[in-house]
């Protein structure tokens, strides 16, 4: 393909496709059930149906725009958008698709990797039309998934430092982004201009400003928007819809939130949510927390408000400075436990808990993801040392343990409220 290819062409395999109509049907049912749970939220923005349908059916955009898929919050979508392509984040939360993923991959990998992979297996799926993929070398599942997916679509693995030490590694991380750009230029046959990258960064800064305001309004008055709808709105921006349209729709939501006047003082317990990615339609943990009568007033999730909070800070106009700015934002400010130095993440959780007057911290551990699981060891002890109530909810995508999780959460809230 081109000299940036990271995979040995001699061992390329023909891509496997499966078409399991039973699973596809169940996948639609799961989306429908997730939507039904959200429909019970008392107060929702008028335009929420648009965000929901955007997530369920990846919208068909102008045919001349190529699609480029990416995984994780460690790949800058600006990099893709600067080529005039649509950036589609492919992390998937559909429990039904886990089974399809297992038809090809081993069962002993995380449900996120399996269900995301399954989106490529469906020959009629919209993602079969992705022109290229960028995956970060974050967790083991993503590294190896990139190798498997390289049989399907031209794929680039974005190397990451192990330590989030910008002083040492910012230059090499910026060079990796340049390398990813060279890869995309080769696949798409388009040259990247400094001007288009600047424009993409400017649009993403506008997005970040909106996410910040949305999060700030929610923190001040959680009744103004449920956390589930906040996640839904944010995640709709991952689907490759034109960023300007998302911005315009979110402006309407923000105006609606600003106009909210609470009838009474809010007395619900305030929680900070941390841990593994929660991705539509797997809103099980968000549903439980809100159904049990608690408010999420801050999160460190790579699929939550944390994912969009930090704007890209551009100090200098040159192309190299833009790559450095993107690396600073996407690599060195990322909350992912694939990096060592847990201190940064613990600090962020402590900061959020104190700034937002939270009563406790809930950690969502995704089964088969050792990174989050092992981080809960230190997090649990540090928070307890500081007298901050902590609950670890370890689960996967399936719904069968919902009631057990509900007991844990309710019992936790009973202690948080001091009942």
């Amino acid at each position: 393909m081109n000299d940036t290819s990271q995979f040995d062409a001699r061992f390329k395999l023909p891509p496997v496709r499966t078409d399991n109509p039973g699973v596809q049907r169940r996948a639609r049912v799961i989306e429908h059930q997730a939507a039904q749970s959200l429909a019970r939220i008392a107060r929702r923005p008028p335009d929420i149906a648009w965000f929901e349908s955007t997530l369920n059916t990846l919208p068909a955009g102008p045919a001349d725009l190529p699609w480029v898929g990416y995984f994780c919050n460690l790949v800058p979508p600006e990099l893709i958008e600067a080529f005039g392509a649509r950036a589609v984040r492919l992390d998937c939360g559909n429990a039904a698709l886990v089974q399809t993923g297992e038809e090809v991959l081993s069962g002993e990998i995380c449900p996120l990797a399996k269900s995301s992979f399954a989106r490529f297996l469906d020959p009629s799926g919209p993602l079969a039309s992705c022109r290229a993929l960028i995956l970060p070398a974050s967790c083991d599942a993503k590294r190896k998934l990139a190798e498997v997916l390289s049989d399907y679509v031209p794929t680039f693995i974005l190397n990451l430092p192990t330590e989030q030490d910008a002083g040492r590694y910012l230059d090499s991380a910026a060079r990796e982004l340049e390398r990813a750009a060279a890869f995309l230029a080769g696949v798409l046959g388009v040259r990247l201009s400094r001007r288009s990258l600047r424009a993409a960064i400017e649009t993403s800064r506008q997005r970040a400003a909106r996410i910040r305001e949305l999060d700030t309004l929610r923190t001040a008055e959680p009744g103004s928007l449920s956390a589930r709808d906040a996640f839904l709105i944010l995640q709709a921006s991952f689907t490759g819809i034109p960023p300007a349209e998302w911005n315009r729709r979110v402006d309407a939501v923000l105006a609606w939130m600003r106009a909210f006047v609470p009838a009474r003082e809010r007395l619900r317990p305030r929680l900070v949510l941390t841990g593994a990615p929660i991705i539509w339609p797997n809103f099980k943990v968000l549903n439980l927390i809100e159904e049990c009568g608690a408010d999420i007033v801050g999160d460190t999730l790579c699929t939550g408000m944390q994912a969009g909070w930090d704007p890209v800070q551009v100090d200098e106009p040159g192309l190299r400075a833009l790559w450095r700015a993107l690396a600073a934002r996407y690599t060195f400010a990322a909350p992912c436990p694939c990096f060592v130095s847990q201190g940064r993440r613990i600090n962020r959780i402590l900061e959020l808990t104190s700034e937002r007057h939270a009563h406790g911290v809930v950690h969502y551990g995704l089964r088969l993801c050792p990174l989050f699981d092992m981080e809960s060891y230190r997090l649990n002890r540090i928070l307890r040392q500081r007298g901050i109530p902590f609950l670890n909810l370890r689960t996967d995508y399936s719904l069968e343990d919902t009631e057990q999780l509900r007991v844990r959460l309710e019992a936790f809230l009973e202690t948080v409220e001091g009942n």
Partner: protein, 270 residues
């Protein structure tokens, strides 16, 4: 002040009627397929036993996995909160820092502060391995009544046979394999108890304090389980007189406490 606590578990339903500190009645019955109706009728039986009319109750608290299934309660709480309150009520003289509760579908370990408040808790994951239901299933697989299964285990606690028993389904095939090898049923029963007890002891060490533990729930009535848990904890455990109804008693205690707190504050209390 008379209050009632109803603990609707997966396997059994427990009702306790409490007059201040005194337990007027405590009943246990199988949950059956219609837990809400069973709860209602056990509750009636308990009232009949005490001669207290329903209108004479200050509050009815429901707890357990079916805590929201009944429509006649005034107060709902988790079994974890009720259990802590129940243990404090049933063992007032002891300093308990750990509660082990083995029920039909859950095993819980609750760590308490020196004051008896909940410090931390841990529950088994979604698999039923290590619960009462799991032991009943293995008894059936061995062709033994539950009581026979327990006494067979008590008689063979020194066995060197090992079972893994981390998954309820795999444990069943493990038993089939051991039977095929000709292992005595008593040894298999004892090995199953050891496997569960060892995991319970690990759960205790992870979140709580092995030296000051008490054991409640249906599992505390199983002598083989009590003995093996003590062995793996390397400490003796306290068992209240009615280990199965501790949670129902605790729910009734919490209802009393709630009413008393309301009485001492005025107007704006929520």
């Amino acid at each position: 002040m008379i209050t009632a606590g109803i603990d609707i578990g997966s396997t059994t339903i427990k009702v306790a009627i409490l007059d201040q500190d005194r337990v007027l009645a405590s009943l246990v019955a199988p949950a059956g397929g219609l837990p809400a109706e069973t709860a209602r009728s056990i509750f009636r039986q308990a009232l009949d036993q005490t001669g207290v009319a329903e209108s004479g109750l200050a509050a009815i608290a429901t707890t357990g996995y079916g805590r929201r299934l009944v429509d006649f309660g005034d107060l709902v709480m988790t079994e974890i909160k009720a259990c802590a309150a129940g243990v404090r009520h049933c063992l007032p003289a002891d300093t308990i820092r750990t509660i082990i509760d083995v029920g039909g579908q859950d095993t819980k370990v609750i760590a308490l502060t020196p004051e008896g408040d909940i410090e931390e808790f841990s529950m088994n994951d979604k698999c039923a391995a290590g619960t009462g239901r799991f032991l009943e299933m293995l008894a059936a697989k061995l062709g033994l009544a539950y009581e026979e299964f327990v006494s067979a285990a008590v008689g063979s606690l020194q066995t060197v046979l090992q079972m893994n028993a981390t998954c309820a389904v795999f444990a069943e095939s493990e038993v089939v394999g051991l039977l095929a090898r000709g292992e005595p049923k008593g040894d298999i029963a004892a090995a199953a108890h050891h496997a569960i007890a060892s995991r319970i002891a690990s759960m205790v060490r992870r979140v709580a304090y092995p030296e000051q533990a008490c054991f409640v729930g249906g599992g505390a009535r199983n002598q083989a389980l009590v003995k093996t848990v003590e062995e793996h904890l390397n400490a003796s455990v306290r068992i209240p007189d009615t280990p199965q109804t501790v949670v129902a008693i605790g729910a009734a205690v919490c209802a009393q406490r709630k009413l008393q707190n309301r009485g001492t504050t005025t107007g704006t209390e929520i």
